[in-house]
């Protein structure tokens, strides 16, 4: 436990600007739970989306740099943004299995020690489940969110492709529901929780983004949710801005911090 308690922490670019809450509450909660997060120097943007094409190498390099930094630090890598997590995990999965890709990446980067997917990558939620444990988290809660009916929104990035992400059952996940129970609230299970919010389509097709995010929010509301939580800044944006729903949406780290008694009264939101 003690050895595992220090992690390389990759916040990602959005957490530096629009999603500061996601980042700040993740850090303060980790500290309260006895976890040290060390941010690598000079990290770069993960690229936002993983390019699945086999003939794309350059677009995968920044994720490899992050993975290598974690390897060289001798620690596992933790991310909290769903998109960064997805890109980094897919890169790590593919480079460990696709020899051709590993060869090209390593020769492109002129690595002295070739990178072949050695770094362990956790999402912050996995940290809570597998390293800290939801039981311990429950014991650490000072301000249980009793009576709150919370719908967990996974979106597509946290679970899929399930082989690479390997975080939870992609069709009937439980990690966020277990998290919600641990902080004293009641999870609301609704089928649209693992369907896409519309993502980057909001850039050029607001109508489609609205349709997608409304379908998610309506399903959550229909099943009786008081609020929705997510780990992704873009999901949060779509669900709030495009869905037309009144249901509040929060980052999961925010309610985590609230349950741990770390939340400041006046936040940006």
């Amino acid at each position: 436990m003690e050895n595992n308690a220090v992690f390389t922490y990759y916040p990602g670019c959005t957490l530096r600007t629009k999603a500061k809450d996601l980042d700040a509450y993740a850090r303060s909660s980790a500290e309260a739970l006895g976890i040290t997060l060390v941010e690598p120097e000079n990290w770069q943007c993960c690229g936002g989306a993983y390019t699945t094409a086999k003939d794309e190498i350059a677009t995968k390099l920044s994720a490899v740099r992050t993975l290598m930094a974690a390897r060289d630090s001798g620690r596992a890598l933790v991310t909290v943004c769903s998109a960064c997590h997805n890109v980094i995990k897919q890169t790590n999965y593919d480079i460990a299995r696709d020899e051709d890709m590993a060869r090209k990446v390593n020769s492109y980067m002129q690595n002295e020690t070739p990178y072949t997917g050695e770094t362990a990558v956790y999402h912050y939620l996995e940290l809570l489940r597998d390293v800290i444990g939801f039981d311990k988290l429950k014991a650490a809660v000072v301000n249980p969110l009793k009576g709150k009916k919370i719908a967990a929104y996974y979106g597509c990035l946290l679970l899929r492709p399930s082989k690479a992400l390997a975080m939870d059952d992609p069709e009937n996940p439980t990690i966020m529901e277990d998290f919600i129970r641990a902080i004293g609230a009641e999870p609301v299970i609704y089928a649209q929780r693992n369907e896409c919010c519309g993502g980057y389509i909001t850039m050029e097709d607001k109508a489609q983004a609205s349709k997608r995010s409304a379908s998610v929010m309506d399903s959550a509301k229909d099943m009786g949710a008081d609020m929705v939580i997510t780990a992704c800044p873009l999901c949060l944006y779509n669900l709030k801005k495009n869905s037309g729903s009144e249901l509040p949406v929060y980052y999961f780290t925010e309610i985590l911090a609230e349950a741990l008694g770390l939340k400041k009264e006046d936040t940006d939101e």
């Binding site: 989306a49 699945t52 094409a53 086999k54 492709p161």
Partner: protein, 127 residues
């Protein structure tokens, strides 16, 4: 030409379109189905047939959300989203075919839009 293009797309996607059994589950699960002119199962089928130019010029390329629902739920492991991505890449790699140009961006922004969206859109729409 079409054969070469098909070969390129198959190589780039890493997908084996011959595994498809035409069940249509990809299109059944696709969240963007109604916005698309050609649907995921058609991408797989038309690439297999070598009928790719129609796909290249279709707006459907930019409607796929890369949510991987079709990839995870395909019973045959065909990975339709990777086929769509390969066709889209082939399209935007043609000179002057970038789907998104930087000068368009300011008009798309609002105060809350995370830059993650911009980065991702650039990854997906341009070369």
């Amino acid at each position: 030409m079409s054969d070469k293009l098909k070969e390129q797309i198959l190589r780039s996607s890493g997908s084996n379109v011959l595994k498809c059994m035409r069940c249509g589950k990809c299109s059944a699960t696709c969240p963007s189905y109604d916005e698309m002119e050609y649907h995921p199962h058609q991408f797989v089928y038309m690439v297999e047939k070598g009928d790719i130019e129609k796909l290249m010029s279709s707006d459907s390329l930019y409607k796929c959300l890369t949510c991987f629902a079709c990839v995870d739920r395909c019973p045959r492991g065909v990975e339709p989203a990777k086929v769509v991505e390969a066709v889209r890449l082939a399209a935007v790699r043609r000179q002057g075919n970038n789907h998104l140009v930087p000068t368009d961006i300011p008009g798309m922004l609002d105060d809350d839009l995370p830059q993650q969206a911009i980065v991702t859109a650039f990854r997906k729409y341009t070369k």
